[in-house]
């Protein structure tokens, strides 16, 4: 097992090298002068030269790339051209925000999706099956921005139950330790902040979790239907086991493998791709940060953020692969 993890970690190196090359080339794949495209048409030659000097764009590509890799490895992710803030500092606040949101979204999606999928499979063609699968079809088809806006209209404007944006209400104090607000509020025993951050998380979390939830529900259902017809399920019934054991242990553990794959992939997407949700709910996360950087042609930010998100994606995939082994002992790693 340990061997496998080490080998996988080694195999990650070329993947990360590839990602770093792509992230690096980004700046140079834009047609024309990168300095010009960052500063716009109104910049004069002196300003352009200053930026080129600052980003050392006049060096050969290989030298630039070498510098990009070594500084990244040393934890220096560069500076924003616009705000001059170090990207690392920005990400330190924004990455936990995105992770908190994504974790919550994938948690809701997994719990509700798996449960709905299992019940739909066990009661195939029942009203619950039809209703939940139609719901899931809507879930994958609904545009998130529309769903988010509708939720804000209903729960924030009309009913006034939930705050429409941000992570904390103004006036609520929280000492941050990890920048995961829920975790921090528990660690500091600050229940006002806990309640406040949970209410802020609820709507964006559910909006973000809708598509994964629908995919997970449909995947669980089809996987369960296949497993429920297996001989070992008949054996489990013939042994006189209670039906919840047959369904939730004997069947679900077997049916969970493809579902786990989907959960891992979806979680990876959420980490890097919560752009819409973060924008609608003004969530100060990575998605919004990178979107603003792209719109503002702040390429050093885009480069480094892509790299960080890609690294996380790769590690989530590794984690998924390791979890496989715990679920299915037949999987061999050699």
């Amino acid at each position: 097992m340990l061997n496998y993890i080490i080998r996988r970690l080694v195999m990650i190196i070329p993947v990360l090298l590839g990602v770093s090359i792509i992230a690096f080339s980004l700046l140079h794949m834009i047609p024309g002068d990168p300095a010009r495209s960052m500063l716009g048409n109104k910049a004069n030659e002196a300003q352009l030269e200053q930026l080129r000097e600052e980003l050392r764009l006049n060096d050969p590509y290989l030298v630039q790339y070498g510098r990009f890799v070594t500084s990244t490895l040393q934890g220096d992710l560069g500076k924003s051209v616009k705000s001059n803030n170090p990207v690392g500092e920005e990400l330190k606040n924004r990455l936990p925000a995105t992770m908190e949101l994504s974790l919550f979204a994938i948690f809701i999606a997994t719990v509700v999706g798996v449960l709905a999928g299992v019940i739909a499979a066990v009661k195939q063609y029942s009203w619950f099956d039809n209703l939940s699968m139609t719901g899931a079809l809507f879930g994958v088809s609904i545009p998130i921005f529309w769903l988010g806006l509708m939720m804000i209209m209903l729960f924030s404007v009309t009913l006034q139950w939930l705050p429409p944006s941000g992570r904390l209400s103004t006036g609520v104090e929280l000492d941050t330790i990890t920048n995961f607000y829920i975790l921090d509020s528990i660690l500091t025993l600050n229940w006002t902040a806990f309640k406040d951050s949970v209410t802020h998380l609820l709507m964006p979390g559910i909006a973000l979790g809708t598509i994964p939830m629908a995919i997970i529900a449909r995947m669980t259902r089809s996987s369960m239907l296949e497993v429920l017809n297996q001989d070992y399920i008949r054996t489990a019934n013939a042994k006189g086991l209670a039906s919840y054991l047959v369904v939730f242990q004997h069947a679900l553990k077997n049916a969970f493998l493809p579902v786990l794959t989907v959960i891992g992939l979806q979680f990876g997407f959420l980490l890097g791709g919560a752009v819409l949700t973060e924008t609608i709910f003004s969530w100060p996360g990575v998605g919004r940060y990178v979107l603003q950087a792209i719109l503002g042609r702040d390429y050093p930010v885009v480069q480094s953020t892509i790299l960080v998100v890609a690294v996380m994606f790769v590690f989530i995939n590794l984690l998924t692969d390791i979890l496989y082994k715990y679920i299915d002992p037949r999987i061999r790693f050699d």
């Binding site: 006189g240 002992p329 037949r330």
Partner: protein, 330 residues
């Protein structure tokens, strides 16, 4: 002294209600088994053998399946009147079952220990440790070497024959009074088949349970069964003691089954096969279901479905050849 039967099946009808019609998978099956006895149920694929077994366990999925008529009595108790919960306490405990394919009948993601312990603890109020001890004892009983360490193995780490032994151990967890074996040797190599049959025979002697042996293999029947029921298209067609059946088969279908076994003493050029295919269970012929394939079919076979007729003590047959006026044909 004549023993009371432990399991009685009376005129069982299990039908499947599908979109393309009602499939009469089991259509009037009756038999009984006594403690310590082995009853064979023989027939082609699709003759209703397995559905009969699943009906006894009340494991027919509803919908589409349903036991529409008949009685199931286990030690004087009416199984059809039992709730699902009561049935669950009988399954795996007093009546248990082993299946055809040991490769797929054990859950691949759990250790043998987990699968055995959960069965024992579902029916007996014992600690986990006691359940493990019992599991070791059972694996030993079915001849698995170094049972305590093997408990930690997963099913895929056993060979086919060993897996079937595990399956048998699992079925015997709670000393069942009736063991239903649904083609227990079909998926195994011939040498392993013989070992498993021998094991079942030995265990039956030691534990005194009744066995219902479902098979399409007359060789298996000859080896282990006391009495045999031959089934065709969901109906029993012949019933006899095993030696009587082989010595004096009466039903043309049984003749066909026996005729299609290779015989070392009388080598024939060609084995006799039963022509045609089993009928569509959704649209059974009006008369005898076997008539369209029967070499001895008469006009009246097309219109009249025969009743069971006792030809000699304990030997019943369902064929119009044995009606009064046809005796000459014999």
């Amino acid at each position: 002294m004549e023993q009371e039967p432990i399991l009685e099946v009376d005129n069982l009808h299990t039908h499947f209600f599908t979109k393309s019609g009602v499939v009469k998978a089991v259509d009037g099956v009756s038999f009984s088994v006594k403690p310590g006895e082995t009853l064979g149920i023989v027939g082609e694929s699709g003759s209703g053998k397995s559905i009969t077994a699943m009906s006894i366990m009340r494991l027919i999925k509803d919908p589409p399946g349903k036991i529409v008529e008949g009685g199931l009595t286990f030690k004087g108790e009416d199984l059809l009147a039992k709730s699902e919960k009561e049935m669950r306490s009988i399954r795996g405990d007093r009546i248990s079952m082993i299946f055809q394919d040991p490769m797929t009948s054990l859950n691949p993601v759990f250790t043998v220990e987990k699968q055995m312990v959960e069965t024992i603890r579902a029916h007996r109020n014992v600690s986990k440790k006691q359940a493990i001890d019992r599991a070791v004892e059972l694996l030993e009983l079915v001849g698995i070497p170094s049972p305590r360490s093997r408990l930690k193995s997963y099913p895929h780490e056993f060979s086919g024959g060993m897996r079937q032994r595990v399956m048998i151990a699992l079925a015997l967890s709670c000393d069942p009074e009736v063991l239903i074996a649904d083609e227990p040797t079909t998926a195994l190599d011939v040498t392993i088949q013989a070992q498993i049959l021998e094991l079942l025979g030995r265990l039956q002697k030691e534990l005194g349970m009744a066995i219902v042996m479902i098979t399409h293999d007359l060789g298996v029947v000859a080896e282990v069964c006391d009495r045999v029921m031959v089934m065709y298209a969901g109906k029993p067609v012949e019933f006899a003691e095993v030696t009587e059946l082989f010595d004096h088969p009466k039903h043309p279908y049984t003749w066909g089954l026996i005729g299609s076994i290779p015989n070392m003493e009388n080598r024939q050029e060609r084995l006799e096969a039963i022509k045609g295919l089993p009928p569509d269970l959704r649209a059974l012929p009006e008369g005898c279901s076997f008539a369209p394939r029967c070499k001895h079919a008469m006009d009246k076979c097309q219109s009249k479905d025969p009743d069971f007729k006792e030809e000699s003590a304990g030997h019943q047959v369902r064929c119009l050849l044995y009606e009064e006026e046809e005796v000459a044909v014999k």
